[in-house]
């Protein structure tokens, strides 16, 4: 086939050369066909004959032309097509250009972006991952969230002060609440109430309570800047930490044997409760009262919020690398909130994730990657955020609010879809704490009531769920945002 076309092209050339055009100066007689040699298909002979008559009227001297290569190049495209070989990119581009020009380049192909959900392929045999997920979803029943409080207790003389922390639920299922100058213990297993301690009139009222991770010892911050440590089992005072602050201690946070205290003087102090000189470290950064203080589940990072609208993240590992001994530099100073940052909650399933809520002028819940200091999300709640709690069993966040509705709002994380709004309190819901099993939430509000809500699921259905150890979230060490 190839040789046939070649011979025809040569014969056309020869026919051209026969009709000689004038004014073409050549004293060499026109070359006459090499048909005989080409038709025989032996190319060497053709080359040999070319040495004698290697010219025509267009190209007087063909000795420099390699006919074999020329032929090869001329027929290459077709051979490529036949062999399905790879076409050179330039040719491809050329072909595209050509096609575009022929089609006048008139078309643009668009596709609709929001594709419909892929069909649920229950009737196909092979199980795919999405199938399993949808199956799981359908199996899991929608949790019923009771709209009203499960139990309401009277809490007379509860100090209606946004900057205090007067409610805490210990790991031994005992709830501590400070009413005026007295700390009461309410045993959630038996429902019995007892008085732990009462401070002198001039030292009180109590400004903060916080259970140690063991659920036996409790720290009590006082208006006179002292912090007392009590043994709840024997109801005896173990120790009084003095001299850490110059004014009332409104925020407490335990990190194993370290009790971190935040005062109205803006100071944050790490107290080692085991040793005589208990002040081991100080964190200076706040200029106003420290009202929110929480250690991360891993105990590596401390988040502190103050009335100066600042949120600080302090890292344990940074304390050693400081110029001034025992004085820490913050890892991140976050000034996005427009009001006091009291509501602080570390995510139990993502160790670098922190949720914070702002006060009356801010009304937002913000999410932070405490590793990088990036604000991941911010939601305007429309109301003062007094307290935040993560659900330990689901990716949900509960926030407590003040004016106008004094409600609790349950959010789905990370979509931040409102799952429930629980109303009942008639004044701002100042304090929130979670039962050790993570199911029940206790709230104390300015209306002097203590309410219990079954907002995070039923204890019965949660029994199989792994119970987290006191103060330490189960997966805190494993999950990181980045």
């Amino acid at each position: 086939m190839d040789s046939g076309t070649t011979s025809s092209s040569i014969s056309s050339k020869t026919s051209l050369s026969r009709s000689r055009v004038p004014f073409v100066e050549t004293n060499i007689p026109p070359r006459y066909p090499r048909n005989s040699s080409l038709n025989s298909g032996i190319r060497r002979t053709s080359k040999a004959s070319a040495t004698t008559q290697n010219f025509d009227r267009f190209i007087p001297d063909r000795s420099s032309t390699d006919m074999d290569i020329a032929r090869c190049l001329l027929t290459q495209a077709r051979r490529d097509k036949e062999n399905n070989a790879v076409v050179s990119p330039s040719k491809e581009v050329y072909r595209k250009r050509l096609a575009e020009t022929i089609l006048q380049n008139r078309t643009r192909i668009l596709s609709f972006k929001s594709k419909p959900a892929a069909p649920i392929d229950a009737w196909y045999n092979e199980p795919s991952t999405s199938n399993q997920i949808s199956h799981q979803k359908s199996v899991k029943p929608r949790r019923h969230i009771p709209q009203s409080a499960e139990r309401t207790l009277d809490a007379p003389d509860l100090v209606d002060d946004y900057y205090l922390n007067l409610l805490d639920w210990g790991s031994t299922n005992v709830l501590a609440i400070a009413l005026g100058s007295t700390v009461y213990l309410w045993d959630a297993t038996t429902g019995s109430t007892s008085e732990l301690m009462t401070v002198e009139e001039e030292d009180g009222p109590v400004t903060s309570v916080n259970w140690a991770p063991d659920g036996r010892h409790i720290a009590v911050g006082l208006n006179n800047s002292d912090v007392q440590l009590w043994d709840s089992a024997n109801k005896c005072l173990l120790r009084t930490l003095k001299g850490a602050h110059r004014s009332r201690v409104g925020a407490l946070a335990w990190n194993n044997q370290i009790l971190t205290t935040g005062g109205m003087d803006g100071m944050i102090v790490n107290n080692d409760v085991r040793i005589r000189s208990h002040i081991v470290q100080t964190y200076t950064g706040h200029t106003h009262e420290v009202c929110g203080l929480k250690w991360s589940g891993s105990g590596q990072q401390l988040a502190s919020g103050g009335n100066d609208n600042l949120l600080h993240i302090w890292d344990v590992s940074m304390s050693s690398s400081n110029a001034v001994p025992n004085q820490n530099q913050w890892l991140h100073r976050l000034d996005d909130h427009m009001a006091a940052v009291k509501a602080i909650a570390w995510c139990p399933f993502q160790s670098n994730l922190l949720a914070t809520g702002g006060g009356g002028n801010d009304r937002s819940i913000k999410f932070w990657n405490t590793h990088t200091g990036a604000c991941l999300n911010s939601i305007d709640t429309g109301s003062q955020v007094c307290s935040l709690l993560w659900n330990k069993n689901e990716k949900e966040l509960l926030s407590s609010h003040g004016f106008t509705n004094n409600q609790l709002t349950l959010w789905k994380y990370p979509s931040m879809v409102k799952m429930a709004e629980l109303t009942g309190h008639t004044s701002r819901v100042l304090f929130m704490t979670q039962s050790p099993d993570g199911c029940t939430v206790a709230t104390a509000a300015g209306d002097e009531t203590l309410r219990f809500w079954n907002v995070f699921g039923n204890p019965e259905s949660q029994k199989s769920a792994p119970k987290s150890n006191a103060g330490i979230a189960p997966f805190a060490k494993y999950n990181h945002i980045r």
């Binding site: 380049n105 609709f112 594709k115 892929a118 649920i120």
Partner: protein, 208 residues
């Protein structure tokens, strides 16, 4: 929208665009149902074009089709739409299995001079559309079975100078290599002529 033109035989550009985009919506639903792309249970029966047709009740499908058709009618009115293709792909491999082509020829005179209208009885158009719908329904007899979970995509071939709406992105043609093609009926509103053609993956290699 289409009902406005139903009483009279005059077809305006707007009315024609509405007929064509509405047709596409029903045709797409019919394809999804008849080809079994979405489960049978998710469809509800309605009467349209004198035929019982099935419309998907799946929210995401409904939103998708209505989103597509509303944009199509906009393009139809400006005469910039050349072709709409409903692509059925394998969900696992994204291999294109079927392409439902709706080629659209627009009477450019009507687009250029906005006031001009054409005459064609609505009944006649309906009859033509009905024929296409019947053909879509009967296509299951010759189209190869879709043996795996499939997803769909809609491609719109528009003029090159069209502004890309926010919900749309440029795409490749998602062609089928060496396809089998079956031409279906066409319908004509005298402003838009819609030619329907289905191409599908040729499974029997031993024919060659």
């Amino acid at each position: 929208m289409a009902s406005r033109t139903q009483s009279r035989d005059i077809i305006t550009l707007k009315g024609s665009s509405a007929i064509v985009s509405e047709f596409f919506g029903y045709a797409a639903n019919s394809i999804l149902y008849n080809r079994g792309v979405y489960p049978e249970e998710s469809f509800a029966k309605v009467k349209k074009y004198g035929l019982p047709l099935l419309l998907s009740q799946d929210e995401s499908v409904k939103a998708f089709i209505s989103g597509v058709t509303s944009q199509l009618s906009e393009w139809l009115e400006s005469g910039m739409l050349q072709r709409v293709v409903l692509v059925v792909m394998s969900r696992a491999t994204s291999e294109v299995l079927e392409r439902w082509n709706f080629n659209i020829e627009t009477d450019s005179e009507v687009v250029k001079t906005k006031g001009v209208s054409r005459e064609k009885s609505d009944k006649e158009i309906m009859r033509e559309i009905q024929a296409i719908m019947r053909q879509i329904a009967s296509s299951i007899t010759y189209l190869p079975c879709l043996e795996e979970p499939c997803v769909i995509d809609v491609l719109a071939y528009t003029d090159i100078d069209v502004q890309i709406p926010t919900m749309w992105i440029e795409s490749d043609a998602k062609l089928i290599e060496n396809p089998q093609m079956v031409k279906l009926c066409s319908f004509d509103t005298k402003i838009h002529k819609v030619n329907t053609l289905v191409s599908y993956k040729n499974n029997d290699d031993d024919d060659e």
